[in-house]
Amino acid sequence: MKAVLVKPLELIGRALPTTYLRIAAGIVAFMLLVGALGSLIAPYDALAQDSAHTFAGPSWSHLMGTDFLGRDTLSRLIVGARPSLFSAVVAVVIGLVGGAIPGMASVLFSRRVEFVVMRFVDALMTIPPIVFAIAIVAGFGNGLPEAVVAIGVLMIPRFFRVVRAETLKHASAQYVEAATLFGASKPYVLRRHVWRKAVPTLGVVSASALGYAVLGISGLAFLGLGEIAPQPSWGSMLSDDLTYLYQAPWAAMWPGVAISLTVWALNALSDAAHTGLVREAEVPVGTESEAPETQDVGSVEPALQYV
């Protein structure tokens, strides 16, 4: 049994070399686990009100106290983890699929189509998230799916641009050109040689996008967009607690800590992955590994600079 366990643990240890990263990964894993289990591990019903014990401070029966309706804060945090975290994951998936695939395909577009697509993506980037979310909710009704779609759609430009840049970078590698010269079609080359090169960068962007999405979903919930009361979510809990700041000044801390810990942990992981990628890029691979250029082409190049 031990032998089986050692290897995965070793791998995790190597992937997360510092305590700092291990803590971050632990927090993310813990939050996801809590989100997955939800009401199964909540000590109380998250919706059960107890008007006799409103604004209770932390005690053995209510570890994090109760809110303005006497509901158990810990249970609400646990149950609220799912709409706060998993909806962020879904939003990132929407951005990833909606951005990465067109982003990679965009290098195949004709110049005119490319122009239109790029300007569309630019336009998408200029939309303020809150205004866009309010517009979506106004158009399709209030609810968690609408909020998730709003956040997800706004993630598209970021993924689009990153994947497009990666694709362009690796599509100019000589082995990609060679594949074309050996008779492979462009879509084939993209699928076979270029796609996998973009995956590590996509991982980094996804992790940081996840942080933004958690913040975005909670931000919308704070404004009352998304998960509808009385269902708990971290953003709406924070908003409620702020209303009663005079009665229970400590209460707003709980959802605040949950949100900031999660976002910090995700950003730490994304930063570390990015650093790892940069370090790897210093070891020459692909395009960077070019040995002396063919001399003939070299002499044409000065002329090509003006093109």
Binding site: A173, Q174, Y175, E177, A178, A179, T180, L181, F182, G183, A184, S185, Y188, R192, H193, R196, K197, V285, G286, T287, S289, E290, A291, P292, E293, T294, Q295, D296, V297, G298, S299, V300, P302, A303, L304, Y306, V307
Partner: protein, 345 residues
């Protein structure tokens, strides 16, 4: 001609065997520059028979690689063919669309380049990349492609093919990588192989081995080879005929033996004198005075004239490639000059 056992699948030769495989006539390639379009390759013509090897020699920037790129339908951005014709098996390559090009690549025309490491995907096993061509272009299934790839690697004299198969490019030497790349190029039994500086980056022994491999393949597969190099010695080992490039033009073309022993163009003579074919010994390294013209400096008349010791006023006029002996030369004074050759070693 199924020496690798594949030919049946690739159709038959379209033209009679005595017709040349490749016909390049008056090929002109223009490069767009800040100062307008410049003809970086001008009026290049040559024929190449089946199984024949033609060497293209010349200094850097003399248009060898651009000519190859034009043959492959893969000119760099900003360059385009502005005149002339290229025919492979009677098909005009200049009129081919993207789709037709894709059909021809690997199966009719293939190429190897100077730096094999950067022409293979660094993160995939080399054998897989070879099998991939056989799967996609040769329409073999996974298992057949693998065994054919192993056969091909053995044909390329790669030892322990099964072991090399699963190695990534970083684990192989330059010579081995070039062998893998040649295997990829000939996997689908093309009629024409373009070897653009394929031996330049290799050390001398490996260079020799790769040249031997190419002449072996030429014999076994009836492969025609366009062999680009700035090393006349390497060219003379492999090629029946040589075309000497200068300033984007062919200044002399002929059989290797004639061209080396009895050059007709002053540039060829100078190249022989300074090159590795000369008698050498302890004589100081000779150089040709001046430098190869850059793109903007191309003159209207003979492009070698500014560096030529035999320059006269006639050299300011445009000269055509005129037949001389077994070949052709582009020199206004070709008939009157007495030029010294070198010994083929």
């Amino acid at each position: 001609m199924s020496r690798l056992g594949l030919s049946a699948e690739y159709g038959t030769v379209a033209t009679p065997l005595d017709e040349p495989l490749l016909r390049v006539g008056g090929l002109t390639v223009g490069v767009a520059t800040g100062a307008g379009r410049i003809e970086a390759v001008r009026d290049v013509s040559f024929d190449l028979g089946r199984g024949e090897a033609l060497g293209l020699v010349g200094e850097s920037g003399s248009g060898k690689t651009l000519t190859c790129r034009a043959l492959l339908g893969a000119l760099p951005a900003g360059c385009s063919v502005s005149g002339g014709s290229i025919e492979l098996d009677g098909i005009s390559l200049l009129d081919l669309g993207e789709r037709r090009w894709r059909e021809i690549r690997s199966t009719r025309i293939a190429a190897v380049f100077q730096d094999p490491a950067s022409y293979l995907n660094p993160s995939l096993p080399v054998g897989e990349q070879l099998a991939e061509v056989l799967r996609v272009k040769g329409r073999l299934n996974r298992r057949d492609a693998r065994s054919r790839a192993l056969d091909l690697m053995a044909t390329m004299h790669l030892h322990r093919p099964a072991y090399v198969y699963q190695q990534i490019p970083a684990e192989l030497s330059g010579g081995m990588l070039q062998r893998v790349l040649i295997a990829v190029a000939v996997a689908c039994e093309p009629a024409l192989l373009i070897a653009d500086e394929a031996t330049t980056a290799l050390d001398l022994t490996t260079q020799r081995e790769v040249i031997d491999l190419l002449s072996e393949l030429r014999e076994r597969l009836g492969l025609a080879i366009v062999f680009v190099s700035h090393d006349l010695a390497a060219v003379s080992e492999l090629c029946d005929r040589v075309a000497v490039f200068y300033g984007g033009e062919v200044v002399e073309i002929g059989t290797t033996a004639d061209l080396v022993s009895d050059p007709s163009h002053p540039y060829t003579e100078a190249l022989l004198r300074v090159g590795s074919l000369g008698t050498g010994g302890d004589a100081a390294l000779e150089v040709i005075a001046g430098h190869h013209p850059r793109l903007g400096e191309l003159t209207a008349g003979c492009r070698f004239a500014p560096r030529c010791g035999h320059r006269r006023s006639v050299c300011a006029e445009l000269v055509a490639l005129t037949p001389v002996g077994s070949g052709a030369v582009r020199c206004a004074r070709a008939g009157e000059l007495q030029l010294a050759g070198a010994d083929l070693r």
